[in-house]
């Protein structure tokens, strides 16, 4: 029964959700190759960090020659969304008698796409089968994404320069759309707007610390604007 839910989740992930991730991670692989990060590191980052924004920051700051601490802090700050996402999803999957480690593994499998789909699908899945469904769904997403990272990385070198450039261009496009498409409330709108302004400004001021600085300054400005109403 649980096995069935696992396969069901895997099957659902194999369609459009995977196609979108292929675009994002092929672009990421091409970017990593262009920035001369080793292939193993690029693919491993997809499994270990499993958050494209964090991976982009990891690659970007490494290229900028940022201090180790600045990179770790920036990656950590960029992943803050996982706390609210995990807080919201875990109670939906909890089932008495199940060992706790299964939820801690699920927390690592969580991503923006997996979370969005889980929130949409869970009402139609019996509680006892949700965790298995989630495992099936997210494991397929990770496998597809790791494979796409490798394909983008290796393929980038063999492609004509223009095709390669177009692949790398897919990364900011993917985020531009996913971020603007997700704006449903003022927190998101203000946070994104202030961050978009603060990003280039902070970079001009201090390239190595620009990512966390833009987050702190832009985020705090957005929070203050939010409070003014």
């Amino acid at each position: 029964m649980t096995n069935h839910a696992f396969l069901q989740g895997a099957r659902e992930a194999a369609g459009v959700p995977s196609a979108v991730l292929v675009a994002g991670f092929v672009g990421f692989g091409a970017l990593a190759a262009a920035q001369q990060v080793p292939l193993g590191i690029a693919v491993a980052s997809t499994v270990v960090i499993w958050a494209l924004p964090g991976q982009l920051i990891f690659i970007d700051m490494h290229t900028l020659g940022a201090p180790l601490l600045a990179t770790v802090v920036a990656v950590m700050l960029s992943s803050a969304r996982f706390l609210p996402m995990t807080l919201m999803l875990m109670p939906e999957m909890r089932q008495p008698g199940r060992p706790a480690w299964q939820y801690y593994v699920a927390a690592q499998l969580l991503s923006l796409s997996g979370w969005t789909m889980a929130v949409a699908r869970f009402p139609g899945i019996p509680r006892a089968q949700r965790l298995a469904w989630f495992y099936g769904f997210t494991l397929v997403l990770i496998l597809v994404s790791a494979g796409s990272t490798a394909v983008g990385y290796v393929g980038a070198d063999r492609l004509p320069p223009l095709a390669r450039l177009a692949l790398v261009m897919m990364v900011p496009m993917y985020y531009l759309l996913i971020l603007l498409g997700a704006v449903r409330e003022r927190t998101a709108a203000l946070g994104l707007a202030c961050g978009a302004l603060a990003g280039p400004l902070a970079y001009v001021a201090t390239p190595e610390w620009s990512v966390p600085l833009a987050g702190f300054a832009g985020g705090t400005a957005a929070y203050l604007l939010l409070r003014m109403r």
């Binding site: 994002g24 990179t71 770790v72 223009l162 900011p172 985020y175 531009l176 759309l177 978009a196």
Partner: protein, 104 residues
């Protein structure tokens, strides 16, 4: 070797948000002030990275002009919000194709 260490640290830093979330289920108020500020910072960080990539690109993207990147963004946004009903795949593809067309 250093890079593997850095990757491990970055993975652990990401898990610092994931793991405790399992434990804290009722501890943090999703409507509280701290939570609100954390959300703002989270949005600002990724928006900052993406806007910096488009406004002051480093690496290969630096080969493109401001106008090219602006037109790619417009093509992607138009395909995503107007032509299709928020089809992410088509939107991203439109942005990349726009660059190819501009360069032909």
């Amino acid at each position: 070797m250093d890079l593997w260490l850095l990757l491990g640290a970055c993975g652990a830093a990401t898990y610092l948000w994931r793991g405790p979330g399992v434990r804290i289920s009722a501890g943090l108020d999703p409507r509280g002030e701290l939570f609100s500020w954390i959300s703002c910072v989270a949005y600002a960080i990724i928006a900052g990275v993406v806007s910096r990539m488009l406004v002051i690109p480093t690496g290969v993207l630096a080969e493109t002009s401001h106008l090219e990147r602006a037109l790619c963004s417009v093509a992607a946004l138009a395909a995503y919000f107007w032509l299709t009903r928020r089809n992410l795949f088509v939107g991203v593809l439109a942005g990349a194709l726009a660059l190819c067309l501009l360069r032909l």
